[in-house]
Symmetry: C2
Subunit: 180 residues, 2 copies
DNA sequence: CCCCTATGTTACCGGTCGGTAACATTTTAG
DNA sequence: CTAAAATGTTACCGACCGGTAACATAGGGG
């Protein structure tokens, strides 16, 4: 979906359907034959991002079966890599949240459900890893993750990903020492 | 500035100048006699928010002179209070960042400079408090702060502020124990 | 009182946007 | 090759938006 790049770069509301069609190497009419409205286009774009991320989680789970610490650590490293590649315009989902204030917008529901699933997964991993306060650890991780985008664009931080890795590793090691 | 409420609730781009005038109990014409364009209106609104926050920092500094730990702890507590009061629509500045993709927008510069100042202040406090790795601590705090808004709206977390307080307190106490 | 300034009213401009109709063109399949 | 399906083109609609012009009204200070 080429429209996504435009949405991300210029903001959802800052991109017209005509420009989207052009970016997709087609025209407005054919676009409207596939998508009923700009809103479903937005929603479908969001759905794609979400699907991709969920796929990533499945992969993570497959590669570290029964190893919650490993999953957490690998997750933090993958996230750090993505953060390193990110530049200036922050998280697509985060921005979409800001740009779609209508609480009933379908894209908003898709995003919210995804974020909730993601957070619950982190909680589950922290529990499985035997962290003393799994809810707190998970919330800390999620806050750092969410804050990372903002910090990258607004504050211009560069080692955000590394910090996340650092904290996750620290929690894991601390827990190992504790249970040893 | 009544316009601010509208900006925050419906998004900057989702609010017309006419609606702003109405909310300010006046009309478009008089509004344009005070502000040359919608963009300067936006910028002035942002400037107001930023000024208010800087004021808060000055107050913080005045109330805990020469006590960086106290400043950090009080800062986390005030932030937590604000987060508790916040609902659904996240941070005004964060959203504005998402809604103003033009890197040359004056409001963007105002926000960026503010966020940088804020972060530098936290770094300075961490240094003054004698934290072993002040850059890391400050980045962690900032990431949590920035992430808090996102977590409140997307993930629906409720104890975000308390977590920030918790982590700041933990760092302070750890450091006291270390230097004792 | 009168003048000057601030504010309100209305109507309008040009532009953009989401979305559609009608028709021409190309591609595909049988 | 031909029919049908998909895609492209153009022009348009109504709505809204940011911003302005012209003019009416109010109000306050001398």
């Amino acid at each position: 979906m080429a429209a996504g790049d435009l949405f991300h770069k210029h903001g959802i509301r800052g991109v017209g359907v005509e420009a989207i069609a052009e970016a997709a190497q087609t025209n407005k009419m054919t676009l409207y034959r596939y998508f009923d409205s700009k809103d479903v286009l937005i929603t479908e774009w969001v759905r794609g991002i979400v699907a991709h991320k969920e796929e990533d989680w499945k992969d993570l789970n497959a590669k570290h079966r029964g190893d919650p610490e490993g999953q957490l650590q690998d997750w933090s490293r993958r996230t750090a890599a993505k953060l390193r590649a990110m530049e200036e315009r922050g998280s697509a989902l985060g921005n979409a949240f800001a740009e779609l204030p209508d609480p009933n917008h379908p894209a908003r529901r898709v995003m919210k459900e995804h974020k909730l699933r993601e957070h619950k997964r982190v909680v589950r991993l922290c529990k499985a890893a035997g962290f003393p306060d799994p809810a707190f650890s998970a919330n800390l991780f999620t806050m750092m993750l969410e804050g990372a985008h903002s910090c990258g664009t607004c504050v211009g931080m560069r080692q955000i990903g590394e910090h996340l890795v650092q904290v996750v590793d620290l929690m894991v090691e601390n827990n190992r020492r504790r249970t040893a």
